[in-house]
């Protein structure tokens, strides 16, 4: 078990480094957000994790013609992922449009 974990660690070392750097970066980058922007920031971040759609596209695009189950599930996954991405960005933009008016200071 431990051996497997170490092997996993080794073979994914660079990815793990990327994960750790990204964690720090995620924290640093938003740590001074004012309270008014909490909702749009949440919404914008929500749209960004829609990047999971790329996985859905790959799954869908690699499914065999005959594999109806995969095709249907993959189709659903792409639709849902697109909803997340597109809806997320659009709704964030609308929020910020409203808030934006308040800005000028």
């Amino acid at each position: 078990m431990i051996e497997q974990m170490l092997a996993f660690f080794n073979s994914n070392y660079h990815l793990i480094t990327i994960v750790i750097l990204s964690i720090f970066l995620g924290i640093e980058v938003i740590s001074r957000v004012p309270a008014v922007l909490h909702t749009p920031l949440m919404s914008g971040a929500n749209a960004i994790h829609g990047v999971v759609i790329i996985g859905a596209i790959i799954v869908m695009g690699e499914a065999h013609e005959g594999d109806i189950l995969s095709l249907i599930l993959g189709f659903l996954a792409v639709v849902l992922g697109t909803l997340n991405v597109v809806g997320g960005f659009v709704v964030t933009d609308r929020m910020l449009e409203m808030f934006g008016k308040k800005k000028k200071k």
């Binding site: 922007l37 996985g55 659903l76």
Partner: protein, 472 residues
Amino acid sequence: MEQFQELLSTNPFLLLSYLIGSITFIMGLKMLSHPDTARKGNMIAAVGMTLSIFTTIFLYKNHNGEGLHNYGWIFAALVIGTVVGTMAAKKVQMTAMPEMVSLFNGMGGACAMLISLIEYNGDLAPAPGKLLIIVLGMIIGTVSFAGSMIAWGKLNGRIKDRTIPGGQVINFAIFGAVIFLSAMVVGGYTGNHAVFYAILGFAALYGILFVMPIGGADMPVVISLLNSFTGVAAAFGGFLYNNPVMLTGGILVGSAGTILTILMCKAMNRSLMNVLIGSFGAKPGAAGPGGNKEQGNAKEISLNDTAVLMAYAQKVMIIPGYGLAVAQAQHTCHELEKVLTEKGVEVSYGIHPVAGRMPGHMNVLLAEADVPYEKLLEMEDANDQMGGVNVVMILGANDVVNPAAKDDPSSPIYGMPILEVEKADHVIVNKRSMKPGYAGIENELFFRPKTSMLFGDAKKVLQDLVSELKNV
């Protein structure tokens, strides 16, 4: 496990577009946290996302050098998602936006869940490392999906808050079951597919029971937390496909989302634990009785007197709160402001950052009623100007003007910055009863000498006030 080591593709342009995608996500999040650049930040992230999606479709090749197929299905799904997503996002009312975010977040979670399902079906004997990632991605995606749906239902009122007796214990047991079954599957102790689907079922149940007892008013915090869950689920997808943009995007949202959740709690002076265990938000009923404990006599004021007082004031400040949103009285409030302005009264709004039930709620609410933004004062500015104000009109706000936050170290909201209305000459409070607000605690302000109560539903009272004022 060797496939993890390989690069996901040898097409440098695809890799480059992923790198650009990651950079736009970082910049997008950074810009989203500054008021002046927020909108641009959102755009930039959207551009990076679009780029990553299209390069994936056209440039991705698997280990055998084959590109993607099923283009018809893919584009059909993209078009459907885009059309529905855009319409939903465009049509939604400002006040229903947190619901919408929750819904979209659930979609992302479901997408991650489906990917894991398909991968599990497609590869009947995956390496343990890959299986671990598939299982973890599915669990987190499912919890996020199920939880988001409950949060959505709560926010639009379809699902009521209910505490299940012993809920914590049940949740804990389910969580244990999920872990145990996952260890069995990943460790290779069972090859039975039913166990895999049992994990799915338990994870969904966990998501539901996790969110169920939390007070509806705490949903923004919960959504933010589930949002970071979905980020982590996306990152597992990144591991699965060795895909750097999924990885960085997912992890960035996972960590930024966690911090944001904590910041949100801080802004309302609560801890995350507090929110999750539901220590004060969850029991509006329990807090009710406190309202009957009289601490002196609250002074009432008549509509007529209020109208006179306001009409002859030089400066009036309106403090909107959750009650104004509940009463949907923002338009009537704007009306009042216009009538007063015509009479030569200088009117401004004092906006507390966590008034209402989502951050920025009041900004959004008043923007909807076309209140000019120069009239909205942020808390610090409002407090600075409070000294010169003759009449403060509090419309359905309670906690955000509670002096206990400043004076009473034993109060649960002690330390939260508030609007210091007592610096003004007169304070008029409109609410329907003496009941407490969100935090479920008494408000001394109502018994202070400067304060007069104007009971009634905010919309009704404002309408009457406006017609009164026209007669003054």
